[in-house]
Symmetry: C2
Subunit: 319 residues, 2 copies
């Protein structure tokens, strides 16, 4: 999950000077906030600071970020809306992403692995159809069920765009790519299989053919875990609504798991956070586990709780 965020005072200090989108597009600053959790906590992975909607903007839909989340200048509802979208060349439309990766890589000098990411086609389709975030994805699902062909055309373009976006990050030095199909868990399994799985699989195969591991995240994944396992992802990143032991039992021994502490637990106390981290480590078993949260860290998280989460596995390893 994202490591930089509104909970760190050094991040907030920068955001007082620049807005969210400017920060994404200014490599020196994006690299600085990407590195902040490495400098403060000594985490072993650095995640580049960016946003999953960056490629959507490169496809031709301007985006703004307000207090109520992302806002798209127009939403996709018709075939003409899909036809007008470009499959962007990352080098000319999103050069700041590759540059951020290069700056991070240089500054890290091997201290931590460098992780890039991309939104998955279905999740980006949901944002483009809704024109922003949504509570129940009513517009998205209405279109999926009433005009599946139109949705497949949109998903096809998004798969090409995100696969190229991921490949460009790898070419710039990203050592693994996390694919966020965050909202695919809102679909019934049959719709997940038709509208999410084939498209994120295309992106994941592009990542793996470039020689780096792919991590697939779906929020609310308990009903579609076996389908996630068919994506060819190296790591499945799961949310907290299922235990890691059950997830392991259902997907078998050959795929790694990432997760899955409820980020809301980091709103309690450092001791309680450490307990939750230990419980996740125990439930995950001895091998193939990346300790992480089950979704993004919440803005009001006390820094001491984030610190406790990072330190817990070190304690567990020593003891």
């Amino acid at each position: 999950m994202r490591q930089a965020g509104r909970y760190l005072p050094e991040y907030r200090a920068i955001r007082e000077r620049v807005d969210f989108l400017t920060l994404c597009k200014t490599p020196e600053l994006a690299a600085e906030v990407s590195l902040q959790p490495v400098e403060r906590f000594g985490v072993d992975v650095c995640i580049i600071f960016s946003d999953i909607l960056i490629p959507v903007e490169a496809m031709g839909i301007p985006i703004s970020f307000g207090d109520s989340g992302p806002q798209l200048e127009r939403s996709v509802r018709s075939r003409a809306d899909v036809d007008v979208l470009r499959v962007p060349d990352p080098a000319s439309t999103m050069p700041f992403v590759a540059e951020t990766i290069r700056l991070c890589k240089r500054a890290l000098a091997g201290r931590a692995a460098l992780l890039g990411f991309t939104g998955a086609p279905f999740t980006l389709a949901a944002y483009t159809i809704e024109g922003g975030g949504s509570k129940n994805f009513a517009s998205t699902k209405s279109l999926l069920y009433s005009d599946p062909q139109l949705c497949h055309a949109l998903l096809d373009k998004l798969a090409s765009a995100t696969a190229e976006h991921a490949a460009a990050q790898i070419a710039a030095g990203a050592q693994a790519i996390q694919v966020f199909d965050t909202w695919a868990g809102e679909l019934e399994p049959a719709a997940y299989e038709e509208f999410a799985l084939p498209y994120h699989t295309r992106v994941i195969e592009r990542i793996r053919s470039a020689g780096v591991p792919a991590i697939l995240y779906v929020n609310g994944c308990a009903g579609v875990l076996e389908l996630m396992a068919r994506s060819s992802a190296d790591v499945l990143s799961v949310d907290w609504r299922i235990t890691l032991s059950e997830a392991r039992a259902r997907i078998g021994p050959s795929i790694a798991l990432q997760g899955n502490v409820d980020p809301a637990i980091l709103l309690s106390t450092p001791v309680r956070v450490a307990q939750a981290a230990f419980a996740a480590l125990e439930a995950a078993g001895p091998a193939g586990h990346v300790l992480n949260l089950g979704h993004g860290i919440l803005p009001d998280t006390p820094v001491a709780c984030a610190q406790a989460f990072v330190d817990a596995p070190k304690v567990a390893t020593v003891s």
Copy 2:
């Protein structure tokens, strides 16, 4: 799930004259809107029109309903906030609920079964702690993890209040009670087991000891199905994020299932809706299934799509 709702023109016509809470508290009108889906569609169950927060108001927290959902006059955050809550006597504090049931029963004259409902303790606790609805239940979880004893005291009072609320509905003539632990699926399974399961089990046992079946609903239940099965509910009402065939395989043959079509499918076309109903019937298998949606019907649902959903099982039975 709720049958009456904003999608029916005859319901909207009444709501133009009275606000939501007045409608809940006026038995003649509440009975009228309860009966509307029976009159229009010929559904085989009539669900009384009310709201899960009615007992919370009876406990001493005034509630209002605006465009952005329910709003509580104050939220529960301290021991004093819990201590001041009453365990209400339903006959004196919520007489309109029993009266609505009696009016429905008389008007139905056996044409359809009559279903009462109550919010479950955890879900009502979440509303009282948040002071309304929530996107991620950050305040609720923060309190659960930092002061579990306080939360248990709150849940204990809510369990007593909702058990009595359910018993009063049965005494008035409800033939089954649905227990809505709508937001318990947002908890990690260990927290569900500690804060949701024991309290809704108390309510369910009270319902069953009064001689009627209990239906337990949890939204996003795929990770906690086995825990739901331990509640002693006669029927588990599941959302669409898991297939009914997988749910059946996991809970065994002895508990009935209810659900689980995605309400957003009713935003498409009558033909597509009928396909979804058939698919649910097929996935549920031959026995122990109540065809239903996986959550409440959405406000913009075309009446023709609701009709198609109600008619589909009749067609399936004939063919």
